[in-house]
C-alpha cells in the first residue's frame, strides 16, 4: 500500500525535523561568524568555541555541575540500593505507600521542588550553597535510582539467595556473590540516568544556586539574559556531544534501554 507508506514517510520527516531541526540550527550557528545568532550562518569560525573555554563563568560552573552530578548520583545510588532491595524482596504493610512517596519527586514539578527546598533550607538557617544543591539533586535522583535498580532486581529469582545460602554462603556472601552481580547493569544504568538528570537539571538548581556557585545550565541561562552571541550555541553543541557519547557508551556496554 504505497499511500500508507508515503504518509508514514512524510510524517516521519516532519517528526524528525521538529526533533532534530533545532539542534541542527544550533550546531550550524555555533560555527557562524555573525556577532549575534543567525541562521543561515555567514562565514566560518571556531571563535565561539574558544570563547566558551575563555569564559570563566562556564568553566567554573561546568566543574560544579560535574562534581554535583557525580556526588549526588553516587549518594542516591548508595541510598537507593537498600530501598530497591527491600521493596522487591519483602512485602510489608506500607510498601505501597513507601513506593508512592519515593516516586513523588518524579511526579511533582521541578520548579515546585526547587521553590519548596529553597524555603526549607532558608528555614534551616545558614547552609552552604553547594550543600543545598547536593541535597536537592540527591533528592530528585533518588526515585530514579530506586526504580531502575528495582527493575533489575525484579528480573532476578528471589530464591537464588536461598540457593546460595543452602550451598554454604552466609547471607552477606550470598548477597555479594549472587545478588550484587545481577544488579550491576541496573546500578550502571541508574548511574548514567542519574548523572544526566542532575547535569541537565535547571528548575531545582535555579532556586538553590547562590552567589559564585552556579551549575552550568543555570549559568547558560543567565549568560543568555545579557548576550545573544553564538557562544551559547557552541556550548550547547559541546553538551549535546557529551551527552550523546555518554549514553551511547552506556547503551553499548550495558544495554541501558532495557531498564528505562
Amino acid at each position: 500500500m504505497p499511500m500508507v507508506s508515503r504518509w508514514m514517510y512524510i510524517s516521519l520527516v516532519i517528526l524528525y525535523s521538529f526533533l532534530l531541526g533545532p539542534f541542527i540550527i544550533i550546531f550550524m550557528a555555533s560555527f557562524g561568524a555573525n556577532a549575534t545568532m543567525a541562521f543561515p550562518p555567514q562565514g566560518f569560525t571556531l571563535d565561539w568555541f574558544a570563547n566558551v573555554f575563555e569564559t570563566s563563568q562556564f568553566i567554573d560552573s561546568f566543574w560544579i555541575s560535574l562534581h554535583l552530578a557525580l556526588l549526588s548520583t553516587i549518594v542516591s545510588l548508595v541510598m537507593g540500593m537498600p530501598v530497591a532491595y527491600a521493596l522487591t524482596r519483602f512485602q510489608f504493610a506500607a510498601s505501597g505507600l513507601v513506593e508512592t512517596i519515593f516516586s513523588a519527586p518524579i511526579l511533582v514539578p521541578g520548579l515546585v521542588i526547587g521553590f519548596a527546598m529553597l524555603n526549607f533550607f532558608v528555614l534551616l538557617g545558614d547552609m552552604r550553597v553547594m550543600t543545598g544543591l547536593f541535597i536537592g539533586h540527591t533528592a530528585i535522583l533518588f526515585p530514579y535510582s530506586v526504580r531502575v535498580i528495582s527493575a533489575s532486581l525484579r528480573n532476578l529469582d528471589p530464591y537464588v539467595e536461598d540457593a546460595a545460602v543452602s550451598l554454604g554462603a552466609n547471607r552477606l556472601r550470598g548477597f555479594l556473590l549472587v545478588v550484587l552481580p545481577n544488579m550491576q547493569a541496573g546500578i550502571a544504568a541508574a548511574f548514567v540516568l542519574g548523572f544526566i538528570t542532575s547535569f541537565n537539571n535547571v528548575p531545582v538548581s535555579l532556586f538553590l544556586s547562590g552567589p559564585g556557585v552556579t551549575t552550568l545550565p543555570v549559568s547558560m541561562l543567565s549568560y543568555l539574559e545579557y548576550y545573544f552571541d553564538p557562544t551559547i550555541a557552541a556550548l550547547s553543541t559541546l553538551l549535546v556531544i557529551f551527552t550523546v557519547v555518554l549514553v551511547q557508551t552506556a547503551e553499548r556496554v550495558l544495554g541501558l534501554s532495557q531498564f528505562v
Binding site: 536461598d162 545460602v165 543452602s166
Partner: protein, 365 residues
Amino acid sequence: MPYLEIHDLTVSYEKNQPTLERFSLNVEQGELLSLLGPSGCGKTTTLRSVAGFIQPDAGRIVINGRDYTHLPPNQRDIGLVFQSYALFPHLTVFNNVAFGLRMRRIPKKEIYSRVANALKMVGLEAFADRRPAQLSGGQQQRVALARATVIEPQVLLLDEPLSNLDAGLRVTMRQEIRRLQQQLGITTLYVTHDQVEAMTISDRVVVMNQGEIEQMGTPENIFSAPETVFVADFMGFDNHFNTEVVSVGDSKLTATWGGAPIQLRWHSKFGSPRPGARAEIFFRADNASLVAGTEATGLAGQVILHTFHGNELQYLVDTEVGEFSIMQDSDSERFEAGAAVTVQPHTQKWIAIIEETAARRQRKE
C-alpha cells in the same frame, strides 16, 4: 535408626494459628520420602524448616544424630532444589555447580573433577560453559540437581521440582531424579502436590492436610488402602457414597449394594464400628462393571452420559445411591444414554472408611 528426624515441630506465621503443630516425621537413611498434599497443607513449611530458612517455635530437627534445630541454614549441609530452579544467572553451568564446593574451600583440582562428574551424571558435560538462560527448563533443573548433590549433602530436599516443566518432560525428569537419588543413596525429602509424581518416585509417601499427617505408607498402600476420606479423595477415588454398616468382622465389614450384602475392607481411626454406624464407601471408576438390564445382582441404574477415552469408555450412571463414574474397556458391551444397566462391584478393590464425624454421629444417636 532414622536418618532425618523431625520432632514435635511447631511453626506459626501468625500468632495462635500454627501452620504446623507438634509435627513429627522420620526419614530412613537412603530413603526418598514424599510430602504430598494440597497447597497450604504445611509441606513446604516442613521442608523450609529442615533447610533452616524457617526457625520453628518449638520442636527439634535431628540429622544423623546431630541436633540441627538452631544451626544456621548455610552450615546445615543440605542440598536444596527449587521449583524455579534458582540458578545463578550470571554464572556458567560449571560455576553454578562449583558454587557450593567453593564455599567449602575445596581445592581447585578436586572441584574440577567433582563438578565434571556431577555434570556427567545429569548428562550435561557438554554444557559446562553455557549460561542458564541458554538452557531449556529440563536442562536447568538438571543443573539445579547437580548443584545440590555435588556437595554430597546429608539430606536432599526437593520443593516441587517438576512443576514448571511440561507433562512429557516431567515423566523423564521424575525417572532421572529417582535414578540419581538411588545411585547416590541420598536421604531425600520430596515435596509435591501431584499424586502421580509422589506414587512413582517415592519409597514412602506422607499425605498431609492442614499441618497434619493424614496417612503414611508405601505408594501402593496409599493408593489402594486410603485410611481417611481426605486421602481417598486426594488419591483419585472417583466414586463414594454413604451407607449403613450391617455387621463388622476383623478385616471386612458388611454393607449392602442393590439389596445384596457386600464384604469390604474397612478402616477406622476410632476402633471397630458398631452395626448401624455410617461408613463412606470409595471406589475407582475402573473397579465396577456394567451389565445390561436390571435382572443381574448388583445395583440398578441408568446411563446418563458416555464419553470415549481411547482404550476405555467412561459412563456416568445414575442410581438410587447416587451418580457414579464407571470406566469400561472399549471392546466390552456398549451402552447408549438412557440404557438400563446393573452396576456390579469389584469389592476387593473397594474400601469403607469410618470417619470421626461418622463415629460421633453414631455415639450421639
